[in-house]
Each structure stands twice: as C-alpha cells, then as structure tokens.
Symmetry: C2
Subunit: 149 residues, 2 copies
C-alpha cells in the first residue's frame, strides 16, 4: 500500500462527510500499513465549529487508546490541515502528514481560509511532522465540486 | 465587572487544572457580564494532548448549547492561545480575547512553544477577535511557578 492508496481512502471519508451533511473533509490515521482510525468533518452533526476531520480524529484516537505520542503514525488528510489541526498534530507529535488539496487551493474554492500553511506551523514548532503535499490532487479537488461553503 | 475580575477567575481555573494533574491553563467564556462556562486544561485527565483549556471550552459550549457563532462572547485565557486554540476561536467567531501571559513569556517558562502569536493567526483569518493582552500579567505568571513541563 502506498500514499495514493491511503489518500483515496481519506477522500472517500471526505465524501462520506459531505453525504452526512458536513463539510467535505476526511482524514485517516495509519500505523505500519494499517488504518487505525478514520475521521470525518462533523461541524454540523455535532454543532461544533472546531470538529474538523483531523483534530477530531486525533482527539478521539488519543483518548480512546490512551496514547498521546503519534510519532509512528501517518495522518492522511484530503485537504491541508488548518492552523488548528496543524497545532493538534504538533501537540500529539504526529510523525508524518500526507495531504491532497493545499490550503491555498482551498481558499480559492471556499472564498476564505486562515492563510498560514501547515509547513509554517511545523517549522515554528517543537514537533515537526514530515510533509508530503498534493497527492492525487485532481481527485482531491473533485471532492469540493458543487459544494457551497 | 471588568477584565481584571474575569482574568482572576481564569487564573483560578488554571490553578484548579494544576491541582487536578494537568497543565496550568484556564479559560472562561463571558457574555454580557455573565460567565457562561469555564474550561480547564485536561490533557492528562482525558489523555488527549489537544485538550487545551480554550478549545475544550469552545467545543463543549458550542456542542451543548447548539451555538456556533461566539461573536458576542469574550474568552478570557490565563495564557495566550496557541495556534490550535486561536484557530478554534476563528472557526467559532469569538468576538473578543483577553489573555494574561504571552506566548513568548510561556515559551521561556516551558522551554518551547509554537512560535506564532494569536494576533498573527487572527490577522490572516476571515474572523478577527479583538485582543487585549497581558492583563494582570504578574498574577498570570505566578500560575507557572515551580511547575515542571
């Protein structure tokens, strides 16, 4: 299994989030070639504007498994994590991040964003996940087609 | 009631967090001169490295009250919110932030931090809380005395 395989799974999760009435973002957490958890954006279902796919997944996984160091894990996200979710990755020491759509691409699609990249957050942080950007980018962009922000 | 009054409350909450075995951070949410919720850091109690005082409070308040726009609220935090919590404030449209200890002061105390100010996050965001900094700063700094990070 490679990054493209897991990113397709993260994109499937983003499409599920959209079906469930939330914003179309998905993330999955992988350790040693095994998906250990998936996470959908749930801002509407949970009435919680902070319930992004990435931080929701990290919070739930750490809480349920009594693990607070994700150094050995890769987080796959259909879109580049915002500063909130990038911060969550730093505090949980995620080892590696793979994303499809960049924060700048997303800002153009939605009309606004917090204009700070995940790399900027990581560079200024005590924990710095390795980053692989823009994996299967066209498939990632398709998730947003026709979606109204 | 003024900012100093509410900040003393936030500092009391930070000391409670410390007593409860977590990191010494506290926040309170105020609307129209009324404290509507308090939030402690719970990273150890909940085994969740993302459970900072500010984002925990915002998430819980929005979820429990079915409110996702905090424009009319002021968040008081014993320490300047990190990028994760600043991002949470943007996504929930918090109207006003008052903090005591700055992120740079905290970085010196703890030895590390994500070196991006809340103002930088807000300036690059679609929602920009008004910020009042360094309120009763000496009292805020005392919270950390003797604490081992």
């Amino acid at each position: 299994m490679d990054d493209q395989f897991y990113m397709r799974k993260a994109i499937e999760v983003a499409l599920e989030a959209r079906k469930n009435g939330n914003q179309p973002f998905g993330a999955i957490l992988v350790k040693q070639d095994k998906i250990v958890m998936t996470g959908e954006n749930k801002i509407n279902n949970d009435n919680d504007p902070t319930y992004h796919a990435e931080i929701g997944l990290i919070s739930k996984y750490c809480f349920e498994n009594k693990i607070s160091d994700l150094t050995e894990y890769t987080l796959y996200s259909s879109c580049e994590p915002c500063v909130m979710c990038s911060g969550a990755m730093v505090w949980s020491s995620v080892g590696r991040l793979v994303y499809s759509v960049s924060y700048e691409q997303f800002a153009k699609i939605s009309g606004s964003n917090i204009m700070i990249s995940c790399n900027e957050v990581f560079e200024k942080s005590p924990n710095q996940p390795k980053v692989v950007a823009n994996i299967i980018n066209e498939e990632g962009l398709k998730v947003f087609e026709g979606f109204k922000f």
